[in-house]
Subunit: 342 residues, 2 copies
Amino acid sequence: MIIDIHGHYTTAPPQLGAWRDLQIDYTRGQASAPDPATLHISDDDIRDTIEANQLRLMDDRGSDITVFSPRASFMAHHIGDLAVSQTWARICNDLCARVSELFPDRFLMGAMLPQSPGEDPTTAVAELTRAVEELGAVTVNLNPDPSGGLWTAPALTDRAWYPIYEKLVEYQIPAMIHVSTSCKPVFHTTGDHYLNADTTAFMQLLKGDLFRDFPDLKFVIPHGGGAVPYHWGRFRGLAMALGKPELEEHLLGNVFFDTCVYHQPGIDLLTTVVPAQNILFASEMIGAVRDIDPRTGHYFDDTKRYVDATSHLTDDERADVFEGNARRVYPRLDRALAARGL
Amino acid sequence: MIIDIHGHYTTAPPQLGAWRDLQIDYTRGQASAPDPATLHISDDDIRDTIEANQLRLMDDRGSDITVFSPRASFMAHHIGDLAVSQTWARICNDLCARVSELFPDRFLMGAMLPQSPGEDPTTAVAELTRAVEELGAVTVNLNPDPSGGLWTAPALTDRAWYPIYEKLVEYQIPAMIHVSTSCKPVFHTTGDHYLNADTTAFMQLLKGDLFRDFPDLKFVIPHGGGAVPYHWGRFRGLAMALGKPELEEHLLGNVFFDTCVYHQPGIDLLTTVVPAQNILFASEMIGAVRDIDPRTGHYFDDTKRYVDATSHLTDDERADVFEGNARRVYPRLDRALAARGL
């Protein structure tokens, strides 16, 4: 079985974006707050957008299951206040839950959190609880920078985040560390902002000792870990300079990387440097890069090809990257699949 | 000959830092502005700090020439106002000029610029001119974020930067794009802030068409290009999505990467993905990572070993990475070496 742990509902029916535009107008004082009850998306709308897009490509590429969460760039936690984010997160999470209800053997749900700049992370716990207990979420996306590029939140090792971590551990839910749209035009959201946030998250964890307090907490750093595997020697050296143990001991019991790296040499590097047990198959399809590479004739984001082709994984390791590691790091995913006979 | 295009005077005599502390006190309103004439550093002070450190390691490792600029993390353009940065840049540049005067066959000078947040980049042209014409600088370090992590400056493609670019082209001087200390505690200066800035700079250039206006302008992106080579497929795909040509055509006539990547797999990736003509040997020694890798028994930042060992370069390409490319991208370096019979 092939489990893709990183997909977003980037192809949601246009009603969703139209409703969000009304909400953005409200945050600008240009309209009253839209009523969530006015948003109508039918099951057929959902089926159509999934079957023509993600499901078609999953079948073409040979992946079985996708952990599917709201569109990352649309989380945009910097827009509006906490109440705006709470309403928006609830709508987006409900929609992803419907995808997994309609395609229970193909999509498991990940949730976004109603984060908001300057707000205590504790305010996100209620939606986290609802997403897990009522919607069946098997993971959440945690934004280390709800300000959208201003980086006003404390580091991930700060105690302010602990109420969320306590809940993640209680539920056996890993968090994917994933920023959203940058509100600063000097950054490109899916070009540098995402990768930079991945690198920053890893360095925040490296500097601290968070997993001493939370030995069972698990984080997935997406997009192949940003710059980290390419600069593994630098990070090992910085860990030494900071008096930390080797990265395997310091972080790799708790930190995992996905395979959203869109060329063969990148996957070859990732699988050379990072132990196979810390690599989780993912493509983020349909995401930032949607074209076919004219040099290979295949989609840039068809990462299964690169994982299949790399010589740095044994067959057992490859099976772990495709399935075993996901079942281990996401216990609720494993149980949900088992309940479906998968 | 082996030319290291990326070294900083990180081991400057302690008088320099003590003087800077007085200047920082001044910016905080705690003292009057210190007089640059009160800073006394003898030739022997300089010889001692160079011979015991950079020169010793250059000899140990077998590199001949270092392009040597003021300590990057000490540029700290966010401290104080323009006048503070002008005084500080002048002092630091004068000191690097003395290093290259004392060791003319081993060190060529790179300059820092007196940038300051919110100031028109034109204000840096006078010191650039002085550094090249009076001090013999063969390159400058250009900080894309003088605010130190707040990213308040316009993108590198903005016309505000053009007065600097015009001077760089006139002088045949490449610029290394290099940030300084982050003033935001969520970032680690040499961990994520440097690498993120490298990635952001590349993405800013990818989004724009700067080299249409400046076909002869040359930028060196340090630290192996941040996350860029590891995510080469992502950046190729983003270029396609933005309607840009392939990266070779779009950027690689003007953009170069150094080899400050501190492990073998990283250098193997860099030399697989980036054409050899766009790679310049560098170590940033003595810099962020100063320890010996216990797994290899060699310094993490002894990047010559990785370049020597990689199987992805022919002997001719390796010679270009070590010397030929530097002489081509830094014409004033080439001429300065030729004038010394090198």
